[in-house]
Amino acid sequence: MSETSGQQHPVGVYLKVWILLFVLSTFSYMVDFFHLEGYLRWTLILIFMFLKAGFIIAIFMHVAWERLALKYVLFVPLSAIAILILLMAIEGDYTFLTRETFFDQ
């Protein structure tokens, strides 16, 4: 790929992804509209969310066509965030537990 032209891709790809994003957004809206509850709801929300995010990053932000080096730079640091999220979820549950046990809420 030449340096001067940057990221050029067929317009069709953009249009397809654009429509796909609309569809996925509709689906995630439907999850709420039909009052799905519990694990089914959360799983669906996460699936649609990651699909949407994936398409935006990969196609609109051209990451799919970027070099592996850049992909690693962008995604490896997020492991720190993943750990933070995991531990904060555990911490939140722990705090909640002590409140339920000892406090009159």
Binding site: T95, T98, R99, T101, F102, F103, D104, Q105
Partner: protein
């Protein structure tokens, strides 16, 4: 080459300092000898590394000192050496980590059947709660906290009625019984630390944390707040007394349950008026205070404060020191009040008296005083109106000559040094931040403007 000598001497000096210095951990008084062992393991391993690395460096600096006719050895890498060093280091690290994790597992898992007690922290005092006969601590909530319910006991939970509430900074523990400290804070972060027990843990508002220990040695130990909790952090002290069963029982018998505390009748001002006749001789008919008798005004003081002071006089906590001449005079007077009910009555009467503004007797620079008062205001209130929650009496409207004498007494330890005087102890530390008479005068001049 001075640096070589210096490095060697520093290494030797550090070792000598370590072995000869009298400063080391205070003797253990709990089951946590395993913690001391992990410290020893780490100390030896790190000590060897410290000595080895620095002596090697000193030797290298000496052996390879500059010589213009020589070149350094060109060896950018030595895989074998680096691998060996990595492996040995990893082994050493594992040797330190493993015992640490094992002991931590002991700390996290409280033994079954451990006694439970709650430690409550608030700026800047400790109090405690025991579960009572049913062995269950009642639920609490900070929304219930108020002057009559300092622990925030929930009215919805009957399990709390037999809870024993200890509004003192001293608590007793049974020897050789594991105890789980449930830690709760009413306001900000605090830390429950008894150095002899080794373990410590923060008190976090909005949740309950814990630590556990089995006291193994009889004695009275300092309890410290070790997490910065505001201006008077360094005065937040308490005592943990480890008792045999018998002493423990007699201490416990003196404590009151939540339902007992709720059933104490209010003071009777009419009955109190009669006993006040004696007081009036010195403190004045309207509790206005008389400088000639060195008697302070009482009318501005709230009942809870007068109650505490009368009790202190009565039980030798205040006025027992020979240096406190006027305090000593108060002791026989306080003894004339026979029991808690009599004290309640007289304080109830004093509350009905209307205070009047005393005459200023002290001159100073109120602007400087205002700066000093910043610290005092944290407890005594921005307008020196006093604060029940901190057990801090009002200062505005009090005779300035009296306040001056008390500040000096606190500074000299004539008042407040007794271990039973929780809040006086804080004032000893606080009063010491006023270094001389001039600063006391400035402070009082400022108080006179309030």
């Amino acid at each position: 080459m001075k640096i070589v000598v210096a490095l060697v001497l520093l290494v030797i000096g550090s070792l000598v300092f370590h072995w000869l210095s009298p400063w080391w951990m205070t003797p253990l008084a709990s089951n946590w000898s395993a913690i001391d062992t992990t410290i020893d393991i780490t100390l030896y391993i790190t000590g060897v590394v410290f000595v080895a690395v620095n002596l090697f460096m000193a030797w290298a600096i000496f052996r390879y000192r500059y010589d213009p006719s020589r070149r350094s050895h060109y060896e950018p890498e030595n895989k074998k050496l680096e691998t060996w060093l990595t492996v040995i280091t990893s082994v050493g690290v594992a040797a330190m980590l493993a015992p640490g994790l094992v002991v931590w597992a002991d700390f996290v898992n409280v033994p079954e059947g451990a006694d439970e007690m709650e430690v409550v922290g608030a700026q800047w005092a400790w109090s405690y709660r025991l579960p009572g006969d049913d062995g269950v601590l009642g639920e609490v909530d900070s929304t219930f906290v108020g002057p009559l319910n300092p622990f925030g006991m929930s009215p919805n939970d009957p399990a709390g009625n037999d809870d024993i509430l200890i509004s003192s900074n001293e608590v007793h523990l049974l020897i050789d019984r594991p105890v789980k400290f449930l830690l709760r804070s009413k306001d900000v972060l605090h830390n429950f630390a008894v150095p002899q027990f080794r373990v410590k843990m923060d008190l976090v508002p909005g949740m309950v944390t814990y630590a556990w220990a089995t006291p193994t040695v009889k004695g009275k130990y300092d309890l410290l707040c070790m997490e910065l909790c505001g201006i008077a952090h360094y005065t937040m002290r308490g005592y943990v007394v480890v008792d045999e069963q018998e002493d423990y029982d007699s201490w416990l018998a003196k404590q009151q349950t939540w339902s007992e505390i709720q059933s104490i009748p209010p003071g009777d001002a009419i009955a109190g008026k009669a006993s006040y006749a004696t007081c009036a001789a010195c403190h004045g008919q309207q509790g206005e205070g008389l400088v000639a008798f060195n008697s302070p005004g009482l009318a501005i003081l709230p009942a809870w404060y007068i109650t505490r002071q009368i009790e202190h006089f009565k039980y030798g906590i205040r006025g027992a020191n020979e240096g406190d001449t006027f305090g000593q005079q108060m002791v026989p007077m306080a003894n004339m009040l026979a029991d808690a009910a009599a004290i309640r009555n007289v304080t109830a009467y004093i509350e009905t008296l209307v205070p009047e503004k005393p005459v200023d007797t002290i001159e100073g620079d109120p602007h400087k005083g205002a700066a000093y008062y910043n610290t005092c205001g944290a407890c005594h209130g921005a307008k020196a109106q006093g604060n029940y929650a901190l057990q801090a009496p009002p200062l505005a409207g009090q005779d300035d000559w009296y306040l001056k004498r008390q500040l000096e007494n606190f500074r000299l330890g004539l008042r407040g040094a007794h271990k039973g005087d929780t809040y006086g102890h804080q004032m000893v530390l606080m009063a010491r931040s006023l270094q001389n008479e001039q600063s006391i005068n400035d402070l009082l001049a400022y108080l006179n403007t309030l």
